[in-house]
């Protein structure tokens, strides 16, 4: 007898009980229980999604890429089963599938769209059997949790090797670690940026992947866009950036609010106005566009979906607190922080910041990374920074050694008081830069003050 419905019911009841007890946000608990009861639950539930299962992973941009992809896919009449709020490990994905499953065990939806944690990609992909896999970038991140970049790249190479022959593989041509994964795959679909005006003078400090994984030679860059993303070639084995079939040209960045570019797919092109800021979001949009194009969706629908996409939770979203606009920009690793800092510098005028550094497990216990991020270019634009969170004073010290005058810095570890100070003195707008758990706390605090609702509701 198939006992799956009983296991589903039990797991669901536990989730409801946990929520009723006021522990809100514990989105992965029922899924983790379900996986204990039935280790094949992901496979069994996901197999019921007839129009495809799409998996997205990257160090940075998973959540936003999934949100943009959803904006496109939903236009084609698909009913998505999709994880949100960073529930991107096996338990969170199982919870998502569980929530979409009816009491008789059938699923309410036809397409799965899952962002997956870098470290969980191999085990989760093996069960989800994706019809398309999107890999966006690999940057150094939480070394205490993930280990070093090369070991993740090796695990991902195994994932790619294990894909079904019919699965689409969508890769960022501009990230040498990602593009390399397509070398043995005949039909990899590459996306990338073609705009030399964006090139930085030098590679950023936190750039990784300086060496070819195959032969060990140092990559030569013709242009660098973001971290180690750019146009490169290996002088040792001759490998070079694959020519992307999905491209962004004529990129224009509009501060922290928007970006526009020409989307090129083969012989076709469309102008795109993105309601998301920064070059990093152009990459996220390209990844989503490449996925949609691989699914056979026409370019007009792709463009409409890109233009309708709005900021995901804490990723450049703006909330209002008693009339003060607060834009929330998650920072969690050097490359991601650099992308945000590069974008903030585009804003005219002086900036008021609330920067929040936590060191909980989901943030990474090790806060060393703040010394890898390039705060220096931001300093001339800063009017005042309030530093908060469990490691507030260490973040303040980073600003000091980046050149910020002491009188422009306030240290207030306690978030509620820090928000009072920052909001109280910001003349017209405030930018909040929280790490992951700080983002959850900040959203909750803003919710208590009537600015936004808690994310699990």
């Amino acid at each position: 007898m198939d006992t799956l419905p009983a296991k589903l019911a039990l797991s669901r009841a536990v989730g409801l009980a946990a929520r009723a007890s006021g522990r809100g946000g514990g989105t992965s608990l029922p899924g983790r229980l379900l996986l204990r009861l039935d280790p094949q639950a992901l496979r069994r539930l996901a197999a019921q999604l007839p129009r495809g299962r799409y998996v997205i992973s990257a160090t940075n941009g998973k959540t936003t890429t999934a949100a943009i992809s959803a904006s496109i896919l939903e236009r084609t009449g698909r009913v998505l089963v999709r994880n949100t709020a960073g529930a991107n490990m096996a338990g969170g994905i199982a919870s998502t599938l569980l929530a979409a499953t009816r009491s008789d065990g059938t699923i309410n939806g036809d397409t799965g769209l899952f962002e997956v944690d870098e470290f969980w990609l191999d085990s989760v992909t093996e069960q989800l059997e994706p019809s398309a896999l999107v890999l966006g970038n690999l940057f150094r991140d939480q070394l205490d949790r993930y280990g070093e970049l090369e070991s993740i790249a090796s695990r991902w190479a195994q994932v790619v090797a294990g894909l079904d022959a019919g699965s689409a593989l969508i890769l960022n041509a501009d990230d040498p670690l990602i593009a390399d994964l397509g070398r043995e795959h005949n039909a990899a679909i590459y996306f990338g940026v073609e705009d030399d005006r964006l090139a930085l003078a030098t590679r950023q400090h936190a750039s990784d992947a300086t060496h070819c994984r195959r032969c060990g030679a140092t990559y030569l860059y013709e242009s660098v866009y973001l971290g180690h993303l750019g146009h490169y070639r290996c002088p040792g084995c001759g490998w070079q950036r694959p020519a992307p079939v999905v491209q962004a040209r004529d990129v224009t960045l509009h501060g922290t609010t928007a970006a526009s570019f020409t989307l090129v797919s083969g012989q076709q092109e469309r102008p795109v106005s993105l309601r998301l800021p920064g070059l990093y979001n152009v990459y996220n949009a390209l990844a989503a566009a490449a996925l949609a194009i691989a699914c056979g969706i026409d370019l007009d629908t792709v463009t409409a979906g890109l233009e309708a996409a709005t900021a995901a939770f804490g990723r450049a979203e703006t909330v209002e607190l008693a009339g003060l606009p607060i834009q929330i920009l998650l920072i969690k690793n050097p490359a991601g922080a650099n992308a945000i800092l590069q974008t903030l510098v585009l804003e005219p005028g002086e900036l008021d910041l609330l920067a929040i550094l936590n060191d909980n497990i989901a943030d990474g216990r090790d806060v060393s990374w703040i010394w890898d991020a390039d705060f220096e270019p931001l300093v001339p634009h800063v009017r005042h920074v309030v530093c908060a969170g469990r490691r507030a004073s260490e973040l303040a010290l980073r600003f000091k050694y980046a050149g910020l005058a002491r009188e422009r810095l306030t240290v207030e570890p306690e978030l509620s008081r820090a928000l009072d100070i920052a909001a109280g003195q910001a003349p017209g707008r405030l930018f909040a830069l929280p790490t992951y758990t700080a983002l959850i706390e900040l959203r909750a605090e803003l919710g208590r003050r009537g600015a936004v609702s808690p994310y699990w509701s």
């Binding site: 010394w371 010290l397 000091k400």
Partner: protein, 244 residues
């Protein structure tokens, strides 16, 4: 003395051995010199490049990914060992952090091979099958002019390091794992050579140690005090994270 004071720092493999934001240490040394009117000169030596043993007062080597560490191990032996031995012999400070610490010893024994070290420290390191030793750490050190001072930081290493008779521990573990998770000691000192597993931006968490390095490298010069309110808060924060 009419010559203006100058601190010369040579970063070894700054492109490769920088996995945990080691540049924070170099930035700390630079700022704390320049704020005092001490000139600061930073040089670097990468793969294949030789070094001048008289060319720096402090030689710094951080941590790297496994493959990068392996490249550097071979290069150190081939291109830099003699110069670093000469530099240490004349009293220049050689500071190795994390992977850099391991390479200052006799070698790093992996499952199937051993990475060579340059033997500036009488220590040897063995890769363990056990878990990586990871977490916040605090140690108590005794250095000339710095009695019972605390260094706080973060460690993340798969190797277990054991000291021979010629090396002394850098400190006693107050919180965390230290050299090997069993003998209660962390790091190593031998003359002016220092190694530690407190990785990456160790100096921003311990401004007093940055000043100790500057002062020692300049022959024990007394340093002008700075406004260290934030530095002391940061040190307290790192100690608190380690549970101290």
């Amino acid at each position: 003395m009419s010559e203006p004071e100058k601190l010369r720092v040579c970063a070894l493999y700054p492109e490769l051995m920088n996995i945990y934001a080691d540049r924070g240490n170099l930035l700390m040394l630079r700022c704390r010199c320049e704020w005092r009117g001490i000139a600061f000169e930073l040089s670097s030596a990468g793969i294949g490049e030789g070094i001048d043993p008289d060319g720096a007062d402090i030689f710094y080597m951080g941590g790297g990914q496994d493959s990068d560490q392996e490249l550097c191990a071979a290069d150190l032996v081939e291109h830099k060992r003699e110069a670093l031995l000469a530099a240490a012999a004349r009293g220049a400070i050689v500071l190795g952090v994390c992977g850099g610490y391991q390479l200052l010893g006799h070698g790093y024994q992996l499952a199937d091979r051993t990475l060579p070290g340059i033997g500036l420290l009488d220590v040897h390191t063995v890769r363990s099958d056990g878990p990586r030793l990871t977490g916040n750490v605090a140690i108590e050190v005794d250095l000339p002019g710095a009695h019972a001072r605390v260094l706080a930081g973060f460690e993340n290493h798969g190797g277990r390091t054991h000291l021979g008779p010629h090396a002394s521990p850098l400190g006693r573990v107050l919180r965390g794992h230290g050299n090997n998770g069993s003998d209660g000691y962390e790091g190593a000192c031998q003359g002016s050579v220092i190694g530690t597993y407190l990785h990456g931006p160790l100096l921003p968490k311990n401004a007093w140690f940055a000043d100790w390095l500057i002062s020692s490298a300049l022959g024990g010069a007394a340093l002008e005090p700075l406004d260290d309110e934030l530095e002391e808060l940061a040190h307290a924060s790192a100690r608190a994270a380690a549970g101290l």
